[in-house]
Symmetry: C2
């Protein structure tokens, strides 16, 4: 890696400008700096000089929803099955699996079934994923919504991110193409739209009403964009919200669907946090749409909905396995053929991840031998997440200048912060936004890595930060509280 | 999935036209049809009506290099370790692993080391992959080339395809950007350039000289493109070749590097078949470049090289795990920062695949307890591939109108076919190219799925097909021979 030279083909000013424009703060400067701190602490490389030791012992990566990095244990049943798929030789001694390693018959049976479906986890599957696993996903959606689902409309993907990438590639036809995106949002959307040289049409979520989604606001944003020559083709909804955690009530979903039907917009429903709900209830867009179609036959026949889900979130938190899926509803068959071709170019999603998805959408049933432990582990994680969210929320409530609503869901808190004018001044001098400045100072002082609100978008004049509530224990919350007090004093 | 309607947002004529333009025959119509045949045979769904049974018992997927779908067994050591990473509970009883399941201590130790490096395979890693595994890759490259490699220039990826996608995203700055691509080529390149709305600048490989790469031909293609207003920025070399199998001699690589240096072109060296060599020898672009830099200091300092590798190919054939890497040489540091940001948007490559890559680049050493079996399995696969290639080659030599050189490497044979004029006529009537027509008839008659030469590009007026030589046994070769004879008779 060397510095710029006219002798090279590529330099910062002649590479793809749309890649350059893209912003992705979740793994940006702060995350990179935190990894450097982690490596200094773990390996002494570069060694921490005695005259300049780090003022913390551990780095807390609260910048990204990555539960297993923060010591969340994987669910036993899931990993038991995956191990059998990787080393099928283990299946040759069922007795030893049971007596020496606590396997139950249902884990062994499931592994045998999955091997029948995929052949080997080392073989490419069909581009959209193994048919048997897509059928499992269809069955899961049917059970969830009470309406049929068809495996041929289900596309397995390497996490929801890859699914979003596929769908935006299809939708973004020209530079004038616009996609409605909630603000604040998970920056995958704005980053992908930048790379695709298409327009982000922002609509603001209502912080004063628990980050609610107001279809009038969407309509206003839509009309403004259209008046500016934007060809708005789709609307993104993140439900439950990231970074907000808010769950949409059924009526709000209906309003969005009605609006999308009226304006012929594709609905991209990012539903990866569908089980991470503390307040309210998750309603799937597919379920609500089907009910509307039943109530008013013919009116909503042509609504195009893509619903995304992932194994990275929920209680399993299996981010590293890169698995997820999207379901298409109401899409044109020729368009689906193009989607199929597009995903074929990258061959197929990771097959062991596909198998993991099968286990997530089809866990042991009550009465199955592995069911009891599965439920215990699942609920343990669920309760733990709620407790951590609440503890962090309570701490934020006590901090001067922090404003925060009760934790609603997802894996994040997104408090509003007010910093003293002197801190705003100091940030300006450091060529930083005030929220960036705060988060950088927090990292340098405590090792806690969070993401400034500007990384997700926020109403002008407001400042926020996003933190996961995944880290165990309360020691780190104490570090933060102490830092915050000092920071506020320093700039008061 | 339903038919076109003006009520929908998306139809075939208003989606992204660049996605529509992309062609990817390796998983195109023939592959989809073969999967339908497979499902009819395996499940009787839709049932094969007695009056119209399929004229074959099995589908042979020779369209794609997917060894484990064709019954290649995974390497024991690799899968033993992966199982321990998925189910770390297995590590709690080392004795049982050894006595009941044949584990050696080195597999157990490696699993513990990898767990230390990645934490959990369910956690996101750093965007470019776990640092310890990137170091393993760097060590492998050092051993291979005899020159240093730096882990910070190594980016793990979800297979080489994902790496190519990343690099082309950076390079393709505008519609006039051009990339030199060998013809015939693996269609990932043309498909990706279509999606990115950039120009493919084709240069032909020399069939009459064992599919050699002639730098004068590259120069000619370059000059023609430049004269047409194309901003040529990179040259793709597939070495050993796909679909041709040809290995470049050192002198040819030097000539390409000289040319790239002169014209300031990035070299994209697709080296995924580096161990799949029967004739000639693999020389890495990195190794040759470093030697040239030693010989003539200062002259080649600014050559930009990206070298790609994958666990899908080689002897392990672990396609389903989606793992690979690319190494950057001579890239500008600001450009590398943009590459890092770009890959961050998709978070990280599958972590279990990263671990698999570690095992592939760092197999058991001679004397390690797992070494003997590893070598035996590895060589068994290598010899098996050569035998299969030779058997298929011998069969092709006997077929009327087939022209083929000795198998050189990779996983493919790419014979030239001449079909009778009546067959060309029949193809025209069926709105097919003659090679497509032949391959479709082959599939319908025998269940053997191969890819027409038009899917890779071929000199006008010539016809080819690509088949893998991965399928075991000779029964399927017999099917093909019989079909070919009948086909030639029918149209003679």
């Amino acid at each position: 890696m060397s510095s710029s030279s006219p002798m090279r083909s590529l330099h910062i000013n002649n590479i793809n400008p749309h890649v350059k424009e893209a912003k992705y703060a979740v793994r940006g400067e702060l995350a990179i700096k935190s990894e450097e701190y982690r490596s200094r602490l773990n390996r002494g490389n570069p060694p921490t000089p005695p005259e300049n030791p780090l003022p913390f012992d551990t780095v807390v990566s609260a910048n990204i929803g990555n539960p297993q990095q923060l010591d969340q244990k994987p669910i036993t049943f899931i990993r038991q099955v995956l191990a059998l798929l990787e080393n099928t030789g283990l299946l040759e001694n069922e007795e030893a699996l049971k007596t020496s390693f606590g396997y139950n018959q249902d884990a062994i049976d499931r592994a045998r079934w999955l091997l029948k479906e995929v052949g080997s986890v080392g073989a490419y599957s069909q581009s959209a994923g193994a048919p048997g696993i897509r059928q499992s996903v269809a069955n899961f959606i049917e059970r969830r919504d009470g309406f049929p689902a068809n495996k041929d409309d289900i596309y397995l993907s390497a996490g929801a991110s890859s699914g979003v990438n596929t769908l935006l590639h299809i939708i973004c036809a020209k530079p004038e193409t616009g996609v409605l995106v909630p603000i604040p949002q998970y920056p995958l959307y704005t980053a992908s739209l930048s790379v695709l040289n298409a327009r982000c049409v922002p609509y603001y979520l209502d912080e004063s009403h628990s980050w609610g989604t107001d279809h009038y606001v969407i309509k206003e944003a839509y009309e403004k964009a259209v008046s500016e020559g934007t060809d708005v083709r789709a609307v993104v909804i993140i439900n439950p919200g990231n970074p907000t955690g808010a769950s949409l009530p059924e009526g709000d979903i209906e309003a969005v669907i009605k609006f999308a039907a009226e304006k012929h917009l594709v609905i991209l429903a990012d539903e990866v946090y569908q089980t991470n709900v503390f307040i309210g209830q998750f309603h799937s867009f597919k379920g609500v749409l089907r009910k509307m179609q039943q109530k008013e036959p013919g009116v909503y026949d042509y609504v195009e909905l893509a619903s995304l889900n992932s194994v990275s979130k929920g209680m399993v938190g299996e981010c590293g396995h890169r698995a997820g899926y999207f379901e298409l509803v109401g899409f044109d068959s020729e368009v689906q053929a193009q989607i199929y071709k597009f995903i074929s170019i990258m061959l197929c999603p990771p097959v062991i991840g596909q198998c993991l998805l099968d286990l997530v959408v089809n866990p042991p049933k009550p009465g199955d031998p592995s069911s009891e432990l599965y439920e215990k582990e699942y609920n343990g994680i669920k309760n733990g997440l709620k407790q951590r969210a609440t503890a962090l929320y309570e701490a934020f409530k006590e901090m001067e200048g922090m404003e925060i609503g009760e934790p609603q869901g997802s894996m994040y808190l997104f408090p509003k912060i007010r910093v003293p004018p002197k801190a705003v001044e100091a940030a300006k001098e450091a060529d930083r936004t005030p929220d960036e400045f705060y988060c950088l100072r927090l990292l340098d002082a405590t090792g806690i890595c969070v993401v400034p609100g500007s990384g997700f978008g926020q109403k002008p004049g407001t400042l926020h930060l996003r933190t996961t509530f995944l880290a165990p224990g309360t020691e780190w919350v104490g570090r933060w509280t102490k830092f915050h007090k000092k920071f506020m004093e320093e700039y008061s």
